[in-house]
Symmetry: C2
Subunit: 318 residues, 2 copies
């Protein structure tokens, strides 16, 4: 089965014949393997193990999963518990809660995500000058959203307009979403890129070899603090030191008005075994970048600029 | 054959029966395997592949290798070319150049390294308050120096004095010297530690969970700029932002008076295959931390403080 559903975009999820098909992102890029989920528990496992990951994509997976549920309230509780940081999961479940047909709602959310990705990607590309060398982290492409991508979507849109020279891809330890997934998506799109150790971003910026940092988000607080894959915060600090614009690209659904600031965002701790085979390790999956380090938040409803409490409040009210 | 030559310290090198025995650090910690080198080329291979690594240890390996050489000038040239960043390699070769018996000189350098490590470790431990939670990067222990260790030596000395609560060990991508080697050494010394992804250092510092950063050095320029394992510079920038003291621990032989500043330090680029199995990657092995971010440089001749051109000049003149 091909993973390219429309044009060159990969599709992480498909709902067919009463089952949710999940493209196993743990097996990528070595193998394109689909996991057929016929129960909510199977989808929850896929989310927990990161077979499907990326804040928008796990929201969609959870929405589709409700269609497999006998007891929708229990199912929603199980799904919400799989990963605590990304707000999209709770948001998507909320959208489907009272739906007569969850699949119909999930398909609508999926379609809206594609539209949002396209719009925010175009808005983000407007921020790129000619010959931009961008650095990104983790995976925020079609695999992560079910659409065109967020930060990766911005890179694709900039590339299509001839404004992108090259992408530095942070490998993204411990699970290498950058080296495995982003490099794979960029290769398919024909975008020049080089993978680097996450810790090489510092010297690249010090040498003036990075013009823009573009990342996604798992939750944006009302004050503009951003939770994203661990390693994002060091990139923001380095970008600040070197005067490199630091952009967060995310749909409005990633903004959580109920979270006042970053200190209120629960940070998932994952299995130390993802870091070391034996011995002691500490494995936080996300970190928080304070709003003061974020040059702009690129959403489908516009490019939000500081002061964020105001620009965020405006977009949520619209 | 045991790797513990004296007390609990591991020994990365032994010269016995006319051959240099190199503890294969690529096989650690899974296997304690020794490589028997009877030619200069074999030692050069061990240095190039990182079977032996760490600035002081590769200096000692090169010094011992001269004893295996028929043409000492060619041998020195070959050995010097293996790794360009660490100045200790050239320094140790220079010490042996005109020796009647290179082994005797190498053994003296080895013994002096042990003494220097002990002294600088004690001086570094003086900088620790009670209950210090320290973060380190790469491996700077006995494996890296042939002695007690530099940054790791400081940690051991602080632990022996009861001042160290815990060590955060950056795994050190791509070759995981932190996760493989430092964690192994700390475990043997009974020092509590947890391995983290390199990019987790940012949130640890933001949460106030790091009291000191202590790293080694591959070359220190006359102005105090420090070349060390890639990822050191981001740690220094983060430490600066969070008011965490950032210490560099290294013997005086790591200071290169002939290198005016960091821009003159050649940065080794290693095989992209260390980062990705296929596809494009960029793999600088080191980065440069500017002197302004270094709280102190801990040497066997004293703790050097800013302004470095002055404190470094004084220690070199002594």
């Amino acid at each position: 089965m091909s993973v390219r559903a429309e044009g060159t975009a990969v599709e992480p999820l498909r709902f067919e014949d009463g089952a949710l098909l999940v493209l196993d992102q743990l097996a990528l890029p070595a193998e394109e393997r689909w996991i057929r989920c016929e129960t909510v528990e199977q989808v929850a496992d896929c989310i927990r193990t990161l077979a499907v990951r990326g804040a928008p994509a796990i929201g969609l997976a959870a929405a589709y999963a409700l269609a497999l549920a006998e007891d929708r309230a229990s199912a929603a509780e199980l799904l919400r518990s799989t990963r605590p940081t990304a707000v999209n999961l709770a948001w998507a479940l909320e959208q489907c809660r009272d739906a007569l047909d969850p699949v119909q709602v999930a398909r609508r959310l999926h379609s809206e995500q594609r539209d949002a990705d396209r719009r925010l990607s175009a808005l983000g590309a407007d921020l790129f000058g000619d010959g931009t060398r961008a650095l990104t982290h983790c995976n925020t492409g079609a695999l992560a959203t079910g659409g065109y991508g967020t930060a990766c979507g911005v890179l694709r849109a900039a590339w299509e307009r001839g404004r992108l020279a090259e992408v530095w891809v942070g490998e993204t330890r411990p699970l290498l979403q950058g080296a495995r997934l982003t490099a794979w998506e960029l290769r398919q799109a024909g975008i020049p890129h080089r993978v680097v150790a996450d810790s090489a971003a510092g010297s690249l910026m010090a040498q003036g070899r990075v013009d823009r940092v573009v990342v996604g988000a798992d939750r944006i607080a009302a004050n503009g603090d951003v939770a994203n894959k661990v390693g994002t915060y060091p990139l923001a600090v380095l970008a600040d030191r070197h005067g490199v614009p630091f952009y967060v690209a995310a749909p409005v659904s990633t903004i959580d008005a109920a979270t006042p600031d970053g200190s209120a965002i629960p940070i998932e701790e994952r299995d130390p075994g993802e870091i070391v085979a034996e011995g002691e390790a500490f494995n936080p999956a996300f970190d928080v970048t304070p709003a003061e380090l974020v040059t702009a938040i690129v959403t489908e409803a516009g490019v939000l600029e500081p002061p964020y409490p105001d620009s965020i409040a405006r977009v949520l009210a619209a």
